[in-house]
Symmetry: C2
Subunit: 180 residues, 2 copies
């Protein structure tokens, strides 16, 4: 599938509601469970998505659109949320994510991007030259990957509870070495 700006914004606009449907009011045993030491719980994932809104996708898109000679992105801190959100409730994070995402998509729409802008380059600190189009596609995939992660991490809390059914439930044996 080719990148499409409107279809990408559509998916990005859905993520806060999808995450809320999965998590709002859910028991802490699901919300705080992980896949093992150093891996994200669903609570952590919401914090990570907020970090993405504030420090990753939009700042990098703005660097690209500024059109400077050397559009190098700032490195991104994948663990900013762990200190930032100590003491926060899941409910407050869900609301914050919703507002940040909504404001960010309003800003993206205001840019009225055409193919000239979508082709503009940025420089990623690890893998070098990328386009604004690739950045926006990665934002969509990043969302979907983390929705999948929330579901997978929740599922794994019942790994023992399913007994022999584990053979038919591949989500329980995905990521045996946890990635996030």
């Amino acid at each position: 599938m080719e990148f499409d700006l409107e279809l990408s914004i559509d998916v990005l606009s859905r993520t806060p509601a999808a995450v809320r449907a999965l998590l709002e009011g859910l028991d802490e045993s699901w919300v705080r469970g992980t896949e093992g030491p150093g891996t994200f719980s669903p609570f952590d994932v919401v914090g990570h998505l907020i970090d993405g809104e504030e420090t990753d996708w939009m700042p990098r898109a703005r660097i690209i659109l500024a059109g400077e000679a050397d559009p190098v992105f700032e490195p991104y801190d994948r663990f900013r949320h762990t200190s930032r959100n100590a003491g926060r409730t899941l409910e407050s994070l869900l609301g914050e994510f919703e507002h940040l995402r909504s404001d960010n998509l309003d800003e993206v729409r205001s840019w009225k991007l055409g193919s000239r802008e979508l082709d503009l380059p940025g420089v990623h600190p690890v893998f070098g030259r990328v386009s604004l189009r690739q950045l926006l596609a990665a934002w969509v995939v990043h969302d979907l990957g983390h929705v999948a992660q929330i579901s997978r991490v929740m599922a794994k809390q019942y790994t023992d509870a399913v007994g022999p059914w584990i053979r038919f439930l591949p989500v329980l044996t995905d990521h045996p070495v946890p990635r996030s």
Copy 2:
């Protein structure tokens, strides 16, 4: 995490809204994309979840609760939905899933299950003796696995679009040999 009936019903009750948040009104290019020949699109996953409501979890739970001498489950047809739902719209399937799930959870609540009932046995056609508790846990995990699958399959439609970002987006390289 130990099996908990109320917490399980809570997760099961959320799935229709989570799937709707991800898919309702979404472009066909996302809804009908797959991971390759013989694998499920998000549309197929909704049909498969409906099949589960009608022919898998509840019929098997009823067999267990009937307490017959030989509580063997019927085999389950994972591809029933492909012929059943030809010509159906996604919107109608989302509504059908919601109603079936709601009715089924009403029935589960009406059983007033305690630990005696949850320990009752059934016989799975492939792996033999299981308990009602394990069946209900597997139902929860099955839901979560398929929510993860919907997200993963959607993400993969942008595998080429993200360019070099693929290295940091493990959802794109999960299930290189597609399962479920």
